[in-house]
């Protein structure tokens, strides 16, 4: 059974239909990269998977559970499905440790020492254990994004969503974030990424999904998709990002 099952999902903002019947399966351990032009509905689809947006039609299930913005166990669900944003969204008034341990301390009632150990553990995974006492403003963009990933990992999610996580970074900082994501992929984390990093999509993804005009236009393994795009839309997209 697929970890995420998206069936015929539609979504509009006012009179603009952003998703026009999207269907997609994501299996456990898969790295799915969603590519496409701006406005193709990539980020909206990602936000719908995490119940940040209400869908108008169709159905999304994660681990067999139907995702709805008014689902009764939404908070538990959100802890199982982590999302990392383009703008990091770290809490500026909290140290790195507090950013990471806020939710576990409040919701899982873990002790302070246990929280610090948890923060150190996830920070080591993103190579930032020495920044545990720093504030976000004292970190570079790349470091902030790695802390945001660590904050998500501390929730022990079953699925992680990445919404253009390298788009706000200076080019020289992109590599460090991608490396962390590659490590996570190797460790078997199920990941769905919206990205413009074609190199990452080509090398790390198990499946590429090309979205166009609110639909899944083409999908398949990266080698196939990049070598033999079937539609002129994907051909022109690949040409434009080369």
């Amino acid at each position: 059974m697929a970890l995420v099952d998206i069936r015929n999902v539609t979504k509009s903002y006012g009179s603009t239909q952003v998703l026009k019947g999207v269907s997609l399966d994501i299996k456990e351990g898969e790295i799915v990269t969603i590519i496409g032009k701006s406005g193709s509905g990539k980020s909206t689809l990602l936000r719908c998977i995490n119940a940040l947006e209400r869908i108008d039609g169709g159905e999304i299930t994660v681990e067999g559970q139907t995702v709805r913005t008014d689902m009764p166990n939404l908070r538990d669900f959100r802890q199982r499905v982590g999302i990392v944003f383009q703008a990091f969204n770290l809490f500026p008034h909290m140290t790195v440790e507090r950013n990471i341990t806020l939710a576990p301390v409040l919701n899982k009632r873990i002790a302070k020492a246990e929280g610090r150990a948890l923060a150190l553990d996830v920070l080591e995974r993103v190579g930032l254990a020495d920044k545990i006492d720093a504030y976000p403003a004292q970190l570079s963009g790349g470091q902030q994004q790695r802390v945001a990933i660590a904050r998500c990992l501390a929730m022990r999610p079953h699925l992680m969503l990445f919404d253009e996580v390298t788009s706000a970074l200076d080019p020289e900082l992109v590599g460090e974030v991608l490396k962390v994501m590659e490590d996570m992929a190797r460790q078997g984390m199920t990941m769905v990424l919206v990205t413009h990093e074609m190199g990452f999509a080509r090398n790390a993804a198990s499946k590429i999904v090309f979205m166009h005009q609110g639909r899944v236009w083409e999908e398949g393994p990266p080698a196939d998709l990049f070598a033999n795009p079937r539609t002129p839309e994907l051909q022109s997209f690949i040409a434009s990002v080369r």
Binding site: L52, R75, R78, F85, F91, P92, H93, M94, N107, A137
Partner: protein
């Protein structure tokens, strides 16, 4: 020309100390009432039901656009007609608390509005409740951004407590009036009273600066 004579005032030092303490107490009680109103009302204006939002808007506009002295008279002279009988000090604390609360609502609301929605979203995505997001994610940076405005309003409140003398509440200005009627030394009395207000305000300003440094330690990227 009449010479200045502060000597006579010396024997009223106990009354002056007492008046100063009452002014301090009145300020602090009104500030606590007003801050509680301000935080709760600002939160409700953002996410409460429509009738509550309208009620809060009405309260803020009414208080900010009418004289504080009349508000004080309403609480002290009109409310007893509805069975709410209270002493002058209590009436002053409530009237000034309501006055401070209206300004605080606008100040805190501005602070909350300055926090990007993406911060709220990040909190929700970590599985936090609405209250946890408000308390831990939104409120601290919001308070930091409005702290200077809040402290200025507090100073205005402290100085505004002198209005309570009009309903004979025991506070510093009322004490000044009392000493004046005994000594006929108007200039000296109000010079001393003025000096005490000035010293209180300067002390609070220093205190607020220290508290601000302690409470809002996180660095901000500019």
């Amino acid at each position: 020309m009449q010479t200045l004579n502060f000597q006579q005032l010396w024997r009223y030092q106990d009354q002056l100390i007492d008046g100063t303490l009452h002014t301090l107490l009145l300020t602090l009680v009104a500030a606590v009432i007003g801050t509680a109103i301000g935080v709760a009302a600002a939160a409700a204006v953002r996410s409460g039901p429509r009738p509550v939002r309208w009620a809060i808007r009405g309260y803020v506009e009414l208080i900010r656009n009418t004289p504080s002295l009349i508000q004080l008279f309403v609480v002290f002279f009109v409310l007893p007609g509805f069975g709410l009988r209270m002493g002058a000090f209590e009436a002053a604390a409530i009237a000034l608390g309501l006055y401070f609360g209206a300004y605080c609502t606008e100040i805190v609301r501005a602070g909350l509005d300055a926090i990007p929605g993406s911060q709220v979203e990040a909190g929700q995505c970590l599985g936090l409740t609405r209250w946890q997001v408000f308390r831990h994610v939104v409120l601290p940076p919001a308070l930091r951004s409005v702290y200077p405005a809040f402290t200025s309003q507090f100073v205005l409140l402290l100085l505004g407590t002198s209005l309570a003398s009009q309903i004979s509440a025991e506070e510093l200005f009322h004490t000044g009036g009392f000493i004046e009627t005994r000594t006929y030394r108007s200039f000296e009395v109000y010079a001393v009273i003025c000096g005490i207000y000035f010293a209180l305000v300067m002390t609070f300003k220093l205190l607020f600066a220290a508290v601000g440094r302690l409470a809002f330690r996180w660095p901000v990227r500019r």
